[in-house]
């Protein structure tokens, strides 16, 4: 399969082009904050609960809130039905998601408490962890949790000998490498970073630059979605 030809990717995008992204805020009633992201074929809901008292007590921190993240995929979200419930992959993604969000949440404002971030992927096609983190930071803001910044997230990767932004399914499956990243725009810091596949140090630098560009666009979409929600500016 030729994944890229004359700079045009298999799904018609350019190397530095994101898939279509739509972010909605406040989509769930019961949650304290929520968001919904459509990103290419990906569809992801996030609900935030808290800050609340944490039980069991021995998990509490006297100096800050505990941030609990849970990433889950619906059994019907992928081509072959997935057995319901957490698997090893989702446990790992839950963990790195927490690491991606922690740097921006002012957990020290809420000692003894817990903040729950629940990410539910109802349709999946490459890039769900980035979509989840992107939605989660918006849902945290919607819940009124004080934060230093939002956290846009997207992947870069290598396909053939090209570094590209925001891998689609075929690029993820048949490309050389995948590099999901989350960025904190105000500091330029990177709070999620995973990689698998082969890449040189130079290619990594190129990929990080590309991701920075992508995250800037996503960041604007996040802010716009929040503005819409709170300014009543609800027409599309």
């Amino acid at each position: 399969m030729e994944l890229i030809k004359d700079g045009i990717r298999i799904d018609g995008r350019k190397k530095d082009e994101l898939r279509d992204i739509k972010i909605e805020v406040g989509v769930l009633k019961r949650a304290d904050g929520s968001a919904y992201v459509e990103w290419g074929m990906n569809k992801v809901y996030v609900a935030v609960y808290g800050p609340r008292e944490l039980f069991p007590r021995f998990l509490r921190r006297s100096d800050k809130a505990v941030l609990q993240c849970k990433y889950n995929m619906a059994s019907f979200s992928v081509d072959d039905r997935k057995r319901p419930g957490p698997d090893r992959r989702s446990v790992e993604i839950s963990k790195v998601t927490r690491g991606a969000l922690e740097p921006v949440v002012l957990t020290e404002n809420f000692p003894e408490s817990v903040i729950n971030v629940n990410i539910e992927v109802v349709q999946a096609e490459a890039g769900t962890r980035c979509a989840g983190i992107t939605a989660a930071s918006v849902a945290l803001a919607d819940a009124g949790i004080p934060m230093k910044d939002l956290v846009p997230s997207c992947a870069a990767g290598k396909v053939g000998s090209e570094i590209i932004l925001d891998l689609c399914k075929e690029e993820d499956n048949f490309g050389e490498s995948d590099l999901p990243i989350a960025m904190i725009p105000r500091t330029g810091g990177i709070s999620l970073l995973q990689m698998d596949g082969l890449m040189t140090a130079e290619e990594l630098e190129e990929a990080l630059n590309l991701v920075k560009k992508g995250c800037k666009i996503i960041y604007e979409k996040q802010k716009e979605a929040l503005r819409k929600r709170y300014k009543g500016d609800d027409h599309d």
Partner: protein, 269 residues
């Protein structure tokens, strides 16, 4: 907990006093359903799907159809499995009570309505008797829980099933490129009632569910037969209350069935 228990008593008094005056918190009549919005086909990865909004309650049903062995005691029937996933999205972790019990009951009540109608023509989904049949998975994801998960799940599941497309198989049982709908015989519709004091309200909200004394779900099928019932809650119903709920269920069932059929026809699904 004392404080929690106290609050729940205050909430109960509030809702009960409203009910005594013939009123509900959200202004509905006792026999009035919240607005139902159905969005079939929104999950492309599933053979069928539907997002049901019942007021603020949101349930997403996904249908996946595989092939597998039949159960030994029903070699001439397809296999159908209904699962309701307790996802923390719709319920913060700290909440007390055994949630697993609730999600199992939910899945089984929705399943029974569909199975007993019967909604699906199970024998026609056998590929080779005793050896290979279609396996239909109904997965219910509760996205937002504002009461009456039973009926929201029923609407989501039934609409998803009616809009499911599966590949036609060739003579050797291999999938072709042609698609066919699931062979649906009926459209079972459930109606859930809450008894609060002496009052019986249809389609209880989250707050009404929290304070109800007893719950009754009646599922009826296209010909007006009851196909499943389930009483819940810690109190009792009189025989008259039950027969009254059944009559209302038959009437409401017809209306909802029409809504679903109209939608499917309108969208050409």
């Amino acid at each position: 907990m004392t404080e929690v228990d106290l609050i729940s008593h205050i909430e109960r008094d509030y809702i009960l006093n409203l009910a005594k005056k013939g009123e509900r918190e959200d202004g509905r009549g006792f026999d009035e359903y919240r607005k139902l919005i159905l969005q079939p086909g929104i999950i492309k990865k599933a053979e069928g799907s539907c997002l049901a909004n019942l007021g603020e309650t949101k349930v997403l049903a996904g249908i996946k159809v595989n092939k597998g062995e039949p159960f030994p005691d029903t070699p001439d029937q397809a296999v159908m499995t209904t699962n309701a996933e307790l996802i923390p999205l719709a319920s913060p972790l700290f909440e007390s009570g055994p949630p697993k019990e609730d999600s199992i009951e939910l899945a089984r009540v929705v399943d029974r309505g569909i199975r007993e109608a019967p909604a699906l023509d199970m024998p026609s989904l056998v590929i080779k008797e005793g050896e290979l049949v279609r396996v239909v998975f109904i997965d219910l994801h509760i996205l937002d829980s504002d009461g009456n998960l039973f009926d929201a799940s029923n609407r989501a599941a039934v609409t998803a099933l009616r809009t499911t497309k599966i590949p036609v198989l060739d003579e050797e049982g291999n999938p072709t490129e042609d698609l066919m709908p699931l062979p649906m015989l009926k459209t079972p519709v459930s109606c859930t009632f809450a008894k609060i004091g002496e009052n019986i309200l249809v389609d209880p909200s989250q707050n009404e569910e929290k304070v109800l004394d007893a719950r009754l779900t009646v599922t009826t099928e296209d010909n007006g037969y009851i196909c499943a019932m389930q009483k819940g809650g810690d109190s009792q119903f009189t025989v008259d209350e039950i027969t009254d709920c059944v009559k209302k269920s038959i009437k409401i069932g017809k209306e909802i069935r029409k809504t679903i059929s109209d939608l499917i026809k309108k969208e050409g699904l």
